[in-house]
Symmetry: C2
Subunit: 96 residues, 2 copies
Amino acid sequence: MLVLITYDVNTESTSGKTRLRKVAKQCENYGRRVQNSVFECIMDQSQSIMLKSILTDIIDESVDSLRFYYLGNNYKTKVEHIGVERGIAVDQPLIL
Amino acid sequence: MLVLITYDVNTESTSGKTRLRKVAKQCENYGRRVQNSVFECIMDQSQSIMLKSILTDIIDESVDSLRFYYLGNNYKTKVEHIGVERGIAVDQPLIL
């Protein structure tokens, strides 16, 4: 299933900047960054639960936020992009 | 239906900062800001097409991007939030 992860991390402090890097790094293990703080991850239920708990441990819930959108398996018709692209589509093969 | 709008606007230039403000202002007409550049809008098909065209006209497609995620009508079980909240839920009555 496609899980969209969006996040806001308060970077006013150095620890906030560290949290932001850590959140992005963890998300990169599971999917593709499509915008600054927006990741698209193709995961099964257990991976999604695990990533959620990892990210929850990283953030400071009093100033940061995470949002998870569960788009299911038939997501291709549910997503539209306009403008500059960041990376390859999460389910496209990387041809080297 | 719930339409999630995420955007990245390049704010290195003054015109970029203006574009960012304009995009947010337009989205505020249709829904709720849930994170810095993430809006949740409850709209019908025609409203969604109109907003998409307004936002497309505002951005510079060579440096900015918009993403639309169509979550349908049964969205409540598809969205999860962890951490600090921004505003009221988009379909909750505002009690003054």
